[in-house]
Amino acid sequence: MVTKHMLKYGTPVIAGVTPGKKGEEVHGVPVYDTLRQVCSEHEINTAIIYVPPAFVLDAVLETLDNNIKLMVVITENIPQHDVMKLLLEADNAGARVIGPNTVGAINPKERVRLGAIGGDNVERCFVPGCVGVISRSGGMTSETSYMVKRAGLGVSTAIGIGGDSLIGSPPKGLLALFEKDPDTQAVVSFSEPGTSFEEDVAQFVAEGGFTKPLVTYVAGRFTESMPEGTIFGHAGAIIEGGKGKPSTKIKMLRDAGVHVVDRYDDIITVLQSLNLEGVRAHAATSER
C-alpha cells in the first residue's frame, strides 16, 4: 500500500529488496534479493527500511555497505541495543537515519514522500509552503501540517522523527538544516515529555543556531502529576530522575524566544501573526 501511495504521489521508487523474491514486481517496481544487486543496476540515494525488528540492524548495515547516506527506519519495537549499534554505524559512515518508529518524511513541493506519511489523501494535510514541521508522533506530523494548512500556509518539509528516545535525527539537527533551507521561513514542532530534545533545541536557539520563528506545542503536561518513570504514549515519553518534564521544556523554550502555545489550536493564530510570505497566494489555492 505504501509503495502504491508513494508512486501515486510522484516519488520515484526504483526497486525493492526481499530475499528470495528476485524477479517479482510490486506495483511495477522490480524486486531484488540483495541491495548490492539493486545498486549494480540503479542509482539509489535513499532507503526505506520496513523489515521486522529482528532484521533491522542487518538491513541498516547492508544499506551503509552500499554507500546509501539517507535511510528511513519505519519499524517499531526494535531492541534498543540494536538501535544503538545501527545509529553508531550510521554516524561513523556519515549517514542520516530518520527514525526508527517513524511515519516518514514528506516534501510537497518536490512531491517526495518517504513512508506512509500522508496516507491515501496527501493534500488533506500537506500542501506546498514555507513552514517546516517536526514531530515525534507520526499522526501529529499530519495533524500539525493540517494546522499549517488551516493557517493559510503550507509545508516545506515535514518529518516524523520517531517516538523513541533513541533516534537518528533529533529536532536540533533538523533545525540546523531548516535554518539553511531557503524554502523554509518558519518551523512548527510538536513536543512531548521525556528525552532532552526540547532542552537541546532551547539551547540551540538561545545560542543563535536557529534564527527563524519556531512555534511549538508541548503535550503531556498531565504526566508531571503522575508517578515518575511511567511511560505514556511513545516509549520516549518518560520522565526519569526529574528530567524531561514539560514544564521545564516550556520554560527553557520560552526563555530562548520560542513561541510556545498553551492550546494546540493556537498554532494557527500564532502562524498567522508571523506575516510569512505567500500566505494569501496559498490560501487561495488551498480552497479548491
Binding site: R136, G139, S142, G229, G233
Partner: protein, 402 residues
C-alpha cells in the same frame, strides 16, 4: 548473577515467616532480609532489615510481610548472609543514547543513591563509554577501577566482576544493570550485594528463558498491573504484529478515553483535563490495528466501573484504516449493550477510508466528526455532552486543577 560466576552473598528466598527463620538458621550467621519488590531505593523505602540470629530474623520477616512497598505488597523476601563490609563501591551499566554507546558509571563511594554520589563525591565517580561493537576490554575495566583507587587482589577481582556484569548486560539486552553496593569484604573479596536489572521489552523474543521473570508492559504502570490492564496486554499480544493497543487505568474518572497515536493522546488528555473532564484511563492505539484488537480494547475501556461516556479522538491517520476501527468500536458498544444515543460517545477521527467510517458510526448512532473540528474542540464537545447527559453530576463538572 551466580549462574554467570559473579560473586553474590549466600541467599535463600522465603515465602513466609517460618521459612525465613529456617533459612536464617541454615545460613548460620547474621543475615539481611530484603523484600522482593520491583522498586529501587529499597533501603530508604524500609524494605531491608537486618537480623543477628534466626529468632530476630523471624521478627524482621513478620514486619516485611505486612508491608506494601510503593504499591507492591511484599510476597517474598530474600534472606542472605550479612557481609563484613570494608568498602562499598557503585557501578551501573546503561545505554548512553546521545553517544550511541554503552555507559559504565562507577564510583568508590557506593551504598548511597547515585544522585547523592554525584552531588557529594563527584571526584570519586568515573564514566566509561564503550563501543558496543568492540565490547569492554579487560584493560578498560582495570583502568576504571585503578583510577578510583583500587589496587592489589581487589583490583583484579573488581575488574573480573565488571567484565562479567558487562557480558550479562549485553547478553540479556538490559536497559540498566545497577549494582549498589558492590562490596569489598573485610577479607578482600568483591561481592555484588544488591542489584537492579531491567530488560528491554522489545528484545524479549531473544530471551524466552526470562519470560517467567518479567511482566510485559510494566513500564506503563506505576503499581502492579490491574486485571483490566493485563486483559488489554493479552488483546494486544493476540495480534502481535498488527497495530498497537495500550491501556493504563487511572484512579477514578468517568470518561473512557481512547486516542490514536502516542503524541495525539498526550495532547488530548491535557485538553480533556483543561475542560474539567475526568478520563478513567489512558489509551492509545495505532499502526492500523485489526478490528478484533480495537474490539477488545474498547470492551476493556468500557468494562471499568464508573465509566459513563467514551471519547475516541485521533489525529488524521496516515495508515490506520478508520473504517476498520469504526467496526471494532461499534461492535464493542453492541457487545456491551450500550446505546450511543443515551450513553455519550463522541468520535473525531479523519484519515484513511473515513467516508466509510462516517457511515458506520452514523448508522450506529455515534456522534462522529472528521477534520471539520480540531482535536481540542472534540474535548470541549465531550465535556458539553457529559454535562448534558448527566446534569448536576459532580464528576463531570469537577475541575481537575491541572
Amino acid at each position: 548473577m551466580a549462574e554467570h560466576q559473579i560473586p553474590v552473598p549466600r541467599f535463600f528466598v522465603a515465602g513466609n515467616e517460618a521459612e525465613a527463620i529456617e533459612k536464617a538458621e541454615a545460613l548460620g550467621c547474621e543475615v539481611v532480609l530484603k523484600a522482593l519488590v520491583p522498586v529501587g531505593k529499597r533501603g530508604k523505602a524500609g524494605a531491608i532489615k537486618f537480623a543477628t540470629d534466626a529468632k530476630s530474623s523471624g521478627e524482621a520477616a513478620r514486619q516485611l510481610f505486612g508491608t506494601v512497598v510503593r504499591h507492591y505488597p511484599v510476597k517474598q523476601i530474600l534472606v542472605e548472609e550479612k557481609l563484613a563490609i570494608d568498602q562499598e563501591l557503585y557501578v551501573s551499566i546503561t545505554l548512553d543514547k546521545p553517544a550511541r554507546k554503552i555507559a559504565i558509571l562507577a564510583s568508590s563511594a557506593g551504598g548511597i543513591d547515585v544522585e547523592e554520589i554525584s552531588a557529594k563525591y563527584p571526584d570519586r565517580m568515573k564514566i566509561l563509554r564503550v563501543d558496543p561493537f568492540r565490547g569492554l576490554a579487560d584493560f578498560q575495566a582495570k583502568q576504571l577501577w585503578a583510577e578510583l583507587g583500587l589496587g592489589g587482589a581487589v583490583l583484579r577481582q573488581a575488574t573480573d566482576v565488571l567484565i562479567k556484569l558487562y557480558k550479562v548486560f549485553v547478553k540479556f539486552d538490559c536497559t540498566i544493570l545497577e549494582i549498589n553496593p558492590l562490596v569489598i569484604t573485610k577479607n578482600a573479596k568483591v561481592v555484588v550485594a544488591a542489584s537492579l536489572m531491567a530488560v528491554d521489552d522489545c528484545a524479549m523474543y531473544r530471551h524466552p528463558e526470562l519470560a517467567a521473570y518479567v511482566q510485559l508492559g510494566s513500564d506503563r504502570a506505576w503499581r502492579p498491573m490491574t486485571a483490566l490492564e493485563k486483559q488489554v496486554v493479552q488483546v494486544n499480544e493476540d495480534d502481535p504484529y498488527r497495530g498497537t493497543a495500550r491501556y493504563t487505568e487511572m484512579d477514578g474518572g468517568d470518561i473512557g478515553f481512547m486516542c490514536g497515536g502516542g503524541g495525539g493522546s498526550l495532547m488530548m488528555f491535557d485538553a480533556l483535563l483543561s475542560y474539567g473532564c475526568k478520563p478513567a484511563n489512558y489509551t492509545e492505539f495505532g499502526g492500523n490495528p485489526p478490528e478484533r484488537k480495537v474490539f477488545g480494547l474498547v470492551k476493556g475501556i468500557l468494562s471499568k466501573a464508573g465509566v459513563k461516556g467514551l471519547i475516541l479522538s485521533a489525529n488524521i491517520s496516515n495508515n490506520t484504516q478508520v473504517d476498520v476501527v469504526a467496526r471494532g468500536v461499534v461492535g464493542a458498544l453492541k457487545d456491551k449493550a450500550i446505546d450511543p444515543r443515551k450513553f455519550p460517545v463522541l468520535v473525531r477521527f479523519a484519515g484513511v477510508n473515513d467516508t466509510a467510517a462516517r457511515e458506520i458510526f452514523k448508522e450506529a448512532g455515534v456522534e462522529y466528526y472528521g477534520e471539520e473540528i480540531s482535536m481540542s474542540m472534540a474535548a470541549k464537545k465531550m465535556m458539553e455532552k457529559m454535562k448534558q447527559t448527566y446534569p448536576g453530576s459532580q464528576e463531570s463538572q469537577a475541575a481537575s486543577g491541572a
